[in-house]
């Protein structure tokens, strides 16, 4: 057992006239900042991602829309117009969607699949008419692929069926309607039907709030004349960031058009990634600043202790032993900083999380001022980095101490 090195290092740390407190403090602040900043950014991003992704399916499977072909690619010039006309009038649909759904459900990582019939149309209330995206769904199934529970402002989404519809808050206010009022929907196939408003939702996305109108699946099938077929299959993944590989596998089993939310929201994801990079750089720089602080204090400490080092060498201490003393001190500083920084950082995270805006609710919960999302991983990573940092910042001072010439050190009496 290295009793001598441990004893001297420990005693130096205990009786350093403030240097230990200073260096441990520097490391602790670094760790604290990393833990707090990570939790804050994670919290903010989770909220943001929830707003953007919560109301849309992770993967959308659509019947492929045949591209209109330029004339020179059409086989026979004689019936080119007929060919193009045929394509535009044919409504796209997924045939035998139950079999497709069963196949998708077998893919690992897929949580649920819900059918939908989507198409463009108009919503009319009295003299007011607005354009709408009419979506026919089975409410209970739709709610298993997108999270709507906290997004219903008024009414009950489960009531949506052949006679009941749900619209976004923006559309409701544009038309001046409330739950219980009636609206008229007209599909681009020319079918019109009257619905009672059963629910008003807020998806957190303006476009959806302004133009989405949900009706029952069978009602939409009738309005868009799809028969028993549907136009979309909406997929929910167990883990949202696995959407891309799942989309890839679906492409492997169907010729339908498949798009993951990640592909549709590339710019948003890039922003998140840039935010993470920026946060990472800030955290790394903070830890580096701490490390330089620790190293410079330790270099001064070695100079202060040069006589002691000289005398220890005269008593038979080897260079290796002296080096180990100061490395142990660096490790001690890193460890102390990690423990204090993690403790205080975790405490601050929970404190910040518990701060709420009095009286204000958000998504059915008490609104918090800072959306912290604490994760033990941050503590573990920050602590490991802090300990490594303490070790690294002690290397140069320890080397200097080890190489100190005992004669020089003692002569400077």
């Amino acid at each position: 057992m290295r009793r001598f090195e441990l004893r001297v290092a420990w005693r130096h740390l205990l009786m350093s006239h403030g240097q230990t407190e200073l260096t441990v403090g520097a490391v602790a602040v670094g760790v604290l900042l990393v833990v707090f900043l990570s939790s804050l950014i994670n919290g903010l991003q989770t909220g943001l991602v929830d707003d953007v992704v919560g109301s849309i399916p992770h993967v959308t499977v659509e019947a492929a829309t045949p591209d209109a072909k330029p004339l020179w690619q059409v086989d026979s010039h004689s019936n080119a117009i007929t060919a193009l006309e045929k394509i535009t009038t044919r409504s796209k649909r997924i045939e035998e969607w139950n079999r497709v759904r069963a196949a998708i459900l077998r893919i690992h990582g897929v949580k649920s699949v819900a059918p939908a019939v989507e198409g463009d149309g108009l919503v009319t209330r009295g003299a007011k008419t607005v354009g709408a995206r009419i979506i026919g769904v089975v409410p209970s199934e739709q709610m298993s692929v997108v999270s709507l529970r906290n997004r219903i402002v008024e009414g009950d989404f489960l009531q949506v069926d052949q006679q009941n519809a749900a619209v976004g808050v923006k559309m409701a206010s544009d038309l001046g309607v409330r739950v219980g009022n009636r609206i008229r929907l007209t599909s681009n196939q020319g079918v019109t039907q009257t619905f009672r408003i059963a629910a008003i939702f807020d998806l957190g996305v303006d476009q959806a709030n302004e133009s989405s109108a949900y009706v029952g699946l069978q009602a939409a099938q009738a309005m868009f004349k799809t028969g028993k077929d549907v136009t979309n299959l909406n997929v929910r993944a167990t883990r949202m960031y696995e959407a891309n590989p799942i989309a890839e596998q679906i492409r492997g089993i169907t010729s339908l058009s498949v798009k993951s939310w990640m592909e549709s929201n590339q710019a948003f994801l890039d922003t998140l990634r840039m935010q993470n990079t920026a946060a990472g750089i800030i955290q790394a720089m903070t830890l580096m600043a701490s490390a330089f602080g620790v190293a410079s204090v330790m270099i001064v400490f070695v100079v202060q202790k040069s006589k002691d080092i000289g005398i220890l060498k005269s008593m038979g201490a080897t260079c290796k032993q002296i080096r180990l003393v100061f490395i142990l001190e660096g490790l001690g500083v890193g460890l102390g900083g990690a423990i204090i920084g993690s403790g205080v950082g975790t405490g601050l995270c929970y404190l910040a999380k518990s701060l709420t805006i009095p009286g204000q609710m958000f998504g059915g919960k008490q609104a918090t001022i800072v959306p912290m999302q604490f994760d033990m991983t941050y503590v573990l990573i920050a602590s490991a980095v802090a300990i490594a940092m303490g070790l690294a910042s002690s290397l140069v001072p320890a080397h200097r101490a080890a190489k100190l010439c005992p004669v020089e050190a003692i002569r400077r009496g």
Partner: protein, 254 residues
Amino acid sequence: MDKDQWALNRVQDDTRPIVEAIDLEKCYGDGIKTWALRGIDFRIDPGEFLAIVGASGSGKSTLLNVVGALDRQSSGKILIDGVDTSTLDDPGLAALRGDTIGFVFQFHYLLAEFTVLENALMPQWIRGKTVDTKWIRALLGRVGLADRLNSRPGELSGGQQQRVAIVRALANRPKLILADEPTGNLDSQNGALVFDLLTELNEELGIAFMLVTHDDRLAQRARRIVAMGDGHIVADYQVDQVEEEARKVAAGIG
């Protein structure tokens, strides 16, 4: 520890010289060379008590550092307890310093963070040996510090601190104690006490002492005097017992 037990701590008699220097030279500087030691040939036998005297810059401290394996000679050979130091690497030199040699410096250099007892135990901790607290306590008792074991160095007088440093030098039962101006930082009364202690320990334990001093009055009380000048040994003589008596008488009259 009573008197008989104490006597058991004597270094075993050995006829081999504890230090043997052959044509030892030391110079500093690459371009303009400054010679600190030139052609030093001398030896120290077990149990000797010798004082190195000379003006400052005469090379006496350099000689002490080379003998103590704290510094390396430029040329020549030095054997410490039969071992050629030029054949040793850092751990080897450190082991030699730790096991065979004890140092006492002008400034006591006790470690402020440790108690008197811990400071005295330090050489044993460094060498990783079984800690012999009994021996250290006996030594601290011998130098009159039995009741200060748990004091910090800062709470002791200069003389007391130097006595702790002497105990520390003896911790690993060395064969040679090197003392560089051990009384230089003390008033004459405390200086004389410390010097007496060194001579007594030399007699009781049979450890060789090599002492650098510029205090001629103290040096005259050593059994052998080596005088240095310009890096050379200019005189090396045994203080005759009769001469010593005569000096004592003369000092008494004066």
